[in-house]
Each structure stands twice: as C-alpha cells, then as structure tokens.
C-alpha cells in the first residue's frame, strides 16, 4: 500500500531518485533544492551539493529560502567566489547534474526564463538567465522540473535562454557544447526523456491518462513504446521530504 501524496511531492521524489550517490550537483532553489537534500538524506549520502552562491558541500539546517541563505554557509565544506563556482566547477567540467526550471520548455528541451512575447516589447518580462544558460551548456546532464500546461510546453519557446537540443538531432555536438543537455523532465503529469534531441514521454504518473498529457503539450508528442507508470513516492521518502519542508514553503 502506498501513501497519499501531492503531485508536487511526486515530482520532487522522482527528481531525487535521478541523483546517484557521489555525484556533484549544481543546486537551484525551490523544488530542486528539496530534491537534492532528499537524495542526500536517503540514498546518496556522498552527493555533493554546490550552490551558485559559492557554498560547496552545504548541509543546510533549515530549508534555504534563497540560494544564498546563511544556512548554506554555516557548516559547509567550502565557500568560494562566484568566479570560482562558474570557472573551476561548472566550466571546469566538475558538475554531473544541473537542475533547471523554466516558464517555458519546448519540444527540444530548450528553456525560456527571459520573456513571453517579443524581446523588445515583452508581454511578460521574466527574471532572465541567472546561471541557467551556462548550466544548460556545461553540466554533464540536466534535470528539468516544471509544471506542465499547454502554454508552458510550446513547440518552440519564445526565447531560448538556456539551450536544450536546439533544433534536435546532434545540434549540441555540432556546436561543441561540453555538456550532455537535458536527460529528464519531470512534470506534475509525467516524465520525459530525449530521443534524437526530442522530448519523449517515458512514464505517466499514477492516475494520469495519455490524453491528458497530450492536451498539455503544444506539439505532436513522441511517446516511448514501453510507456511506464511513474513509481510513486514511498512512506520514507515522504516522511523525510515533509521534514525538510515543514512549513510547506515549496510543497504547497
């Protein structure tokens, strides 16, 4: 018998399982941070968390509300300048997994966090790249966590802030991008991998129909022949996760 859980809890637990022990992960704030700390406390005690703020090997005693929370510094293994974080760790090829979120993600895993509408006259001005552009280019693989709607999953994003597989195929290799690009997209409906640089549905969350997923994608969705059901979170994952975010700041 499995426990009751929210779609957000499922997303975080599924993302956490993507992290192998001993890997080095570039942590973003919010759900990615919860996923990383969940993995650290359960199956990946040797997971090394690196925050773009410069905290290396952080073991936050509280859920960091910002990526530069003081709790990320106190008791961490090392603090380095942002120049070092980006040059030595990310550009130096030491980051196994980068976590990204996005207002829009398209058929080829390109992410937009810059503008909705034209750049010069935006309908909505979004925050911009932050470190996402270089994480997308340099991390060995990228995991994307995003809520899925037809508007947020267009065939092509309005603005490519962070490149995924561009137009698909081997576009990344042709441009000599060091990182491998997106390997997994976890939404509140299902999980996606990439085949020839195209987003491909690999599993449906329990109770979600293929029709519902297709209704929330802006293109003719590719589906893997061996479509699975996403393994739901178990009791222990949920217990640890809920301890991590007692005030449900991010779990809602």
């Amino acid at each position: 018998m499995t426990a009751a859980y929210t779609p957000t809890e499922l997303m975080v637990c599924r993302a956490a399982r993507e992290l192998a022990d001993g890997e080095v992960v570039f942590v973003g704030i919010g759900l990615p941070n919860l996923a990383c700390n969940l993995a650290l406390r359960r199956h990946a005690p040797e997971l090394l968390l690196i925050y773009e703020s410069g905290a290396v090997g952080a073991v936050p005693e509280r859920v960091p509300v910002s990526i530069g929370d003081p709790a990320l510094v106190t008791g961490s293994l090392a603090v380095c300048s942002m120049q070092e974080v980006f040059s030595h760790y990310l550009q130096g090829g030491r980051i196994d997994v980068g976590f990204l979120q996005g207002a829009q993600i398209d058929r080829h895993g390109n992410l937009n966090t810059t503008v909705i509408g034209p750049y010069e006259r935006p309908a909505v001005r979004l925050p911009g790249s932050g470190g996402a552009c270089e994480i997308a280019i340099l991390a060995k693989r990228v995991v994307v966590v995003a809520r899925q709607t037809r508007r947020s999953f267009p065939e092509r994003v309005d603005f490519v802030t962070s490149p995924g597989f561009l137009d698909g195929g081997d576009a990344r290799q042709r441009l000599g991008m060091p990182g491998g690009g997106p390997s997994l997209v976890v939404t509140d409906l299902g999980c996606y991998g990439f085949v020839d640089g195209e987003m491909t549905l690999v599993s449906l969350h329990p109770g979600v129909t293929l029709e519902r997923v297709q209704a929330e994608v802006g293109w003719e969705l590719r589906v893997t022949p061996e479509l699975a059901t996403t393994e739901p979170p178990d009791e222990d994952e949920l217990r640890v996760l809920r301890e991590l975010d007692r005030d449900r700041l991010y779990l809602g």
């Binding site: 704030i29 510094v73 300048s81 942002m82 980006f86 750049y119 935006p122 001005r125 911009g128």
Partner: protein, 303 residues
C-alpha cells in the same frame, strides 16, 4: 590618499555617487547594502546605470524611485517570492521612466567584473552557445582560440564609476574583511574607479593584520569607509544578523502596487534621516534577526 577615510553614508554618497554614474551595489544575497541604496534615493540621484547580477529588492526600490536609466544584470527576480514589480513597470510600462536592459547570464556578469578587475579588454568563457542572448546583446561576442581554433564567447569588462561593498569589518583605511558568501565583490571593487566600503564594525588595523588571509579588499582601492551597523537589512551579514525572509516575501504585495511601493519609500526611505533611524523604526525585529553565535576556530600565523 588620506589614511582616515571614515565618513557618514550621507557624505560618502554626496561625494562619490554622481548623476549619470554607473553604480554597483554588489553582494549575492549576502551583504547587500540597502543602506547605501536608500541614501542614493534620498539624495535623488538620477540617470544611473545600475549593475548587479541580481537586482534584488534594493534595485527594485531605486528603479521605482526613478534613480535608474539602465540596468545591467543577469537575474531579475525576488528570490523565492516572485517578480520585481517596480522593475517590471519600468520595462513594460515605462513607469516612472523607461529602463534600458543590458542582459547577461550570471557567468557573463562574473566574467565582465573579472575582466574589469584584471585590466583586460575582454574575458573568454564557455557560455551563450545556442542561446538567444547574443542575438539581443551585441556585447556578447566570440573570440577564436589561438591554439585550438575553437570559438569561445567573450564579454567586455564592466568598469563601474562606483562600487559599494558591504563588509563585516574594516579599518579606517578601508582594509576590509568578509567571511561567508563572497559573491563578486572583490572583482567589482577592483574594477571600479571609486569604492565605498560599508562595514558592520570599524576595527583597529591590528585586528585585520592578525588574520591577513581574511582580507577581501586592501585600503589601496577604497575611497571612503562608512560605519553602518545593520546596513544590509533585509539582506544579511553572516555572524551579525539573519536574512529577513518575511520582508522579502512581503515585498511582493508592496511592489505589485505602485502606490504602496511609493508609500513604502516615503515612510522607510525619505521618512528616515539615516540607517540608525531605520533600525530604530524597525524596533524588535532587529533583535529577532540577531545571529546566534557559531564561532570558528582560530589558526596560527607563527613562524
């Protein structure tokens, strides 16, 4: 340069920050000098080019107050609490005035400061490939490696007229020490023509000389030193006071409404003469945010 550079925030801003300047108030979440931003608003500076990786609430306030003509940045949001509406009104509706955007990624901004500090005309980096950012920013270019022939991205130096750096402790010469997150403050200060160091504590030079590896900036690059305890609130100073997350979360409601944002500026910026009055007005909150000690061990510099 005089050995004693200690002045009030009012004097430092009056003397070193001019209309039309390119101004940097850095600090990545940690040590963001709100006290300096508020004084710049009080003195009515205008046409500033504001530079920061993360504009944060302080630039949202300065933009809403009409100080800025241009913003050089890489991520413009309220960390963990939605958009910066003051900034969005300027960009989307030109309110209170238009705001030009000069947009990079974090690494791009870090590289610009690094080039400025190192006296280089460009900085090479592996980013921007396949992104639309170079399409909308002509200053993101490429350079060819003279050894491998490969193309890398290149950005120009950022050389601010003024950099304002908040630190935990400094002496009257401006020698300054920081611990906790370091951000890009060292690079920003070395890149700038003028530097204001704002410190939680002013200490004897001997305190700094007892631990020279902690020094972020030498007085050599500093023009003015300001003693401003609690000068970062709602940002934080490791070892002194915590980040006021409730304020950051609450800012959304204030900035969403132009009237409320202006009322906030009237009450908390124009309505107080200086940071001491601001802290007094905050009352008990100051004590609630005070840090619980976590003292590091000492090391030995003997020989």
């Amino acid at each position: 340069m005089s050995a004693d550079k200690l002045v009030s925030m009012r004097e430092a801003v009056a003397r070193l920050v001019r209309d039309g300047d390119t101004v940097v108030i850095e600090g990545f979440t940690h040590l963001i000098c709100f006290a300096a931003g508020h004084e710049i608003i009080r003195q009515g500076r205008s046409d500033l080019t504001l530079c920061r990786l993360t504009p944060d609430l302080i630039y949202d306030q300065m933009i809403a107050a009409g100080c800025a003509r241009r913003l050089v940045f890489s991520w413009a949001g309220n960390p963990g609490a939605g958009p910066l509406y003051g900034l969005r009104r300027a960009v989307e509706q030109q309110v209170p005035r238009p705001l030009e955007l000069d947009e990079y990624s974090h690494f791009g901004m870090v590289a610009r400061f690094a080039a400025g500090a190192a006296g280089l005309p460009f900085w090479p980096l592996r980013s921007f490939t396949g992104s639309d950012l170079p399409r909308v920013n002509g200053d993101i270019r490429t350079v060819r490696c003279p050894f491998t022939g490969e193309e890398l991205a290149a950005v120009p130096p950022l050389r601010p007229d003024v950099a304002i750096v908040h630190v935990q402790r400094a002496d009257r010469r401006g020698d300054a020490q920081v611990w906790g997150l370091l951000g890009v403050q060292k690079e920003a200060a070395f890149a700038a023509a003028r530097v204001i160091v704002v410190a939680e504590e002013i200490v004897e030079e001997s305190v700094l000389r007892a631990d020279p590896n902690r020094t972020l900036l030498p007085g050599l690059v500093v023009d003015a030193v300001v003693h401003e305890p609690f000068g970062c609130h709602p940002s934080y100073a490791q070892g002194y006071y915590d980040r006021d997350n409730a304020f950051y979360v609450g800012w959304r409601e204030i900035s969403e409404d132009r009237g409320r944002l202006e009322a906030y500026l009237d009450e908390w910026v124009h309505g107080v003469p200086d940071r001491a009055a601001y802290a007094a007005k905050l009352g008990d909150r100051v004590g609630e945010l005070r840090a619980r000690p976590r003292v590091a061990g000492a090391v030995d510099y003997g020989y």
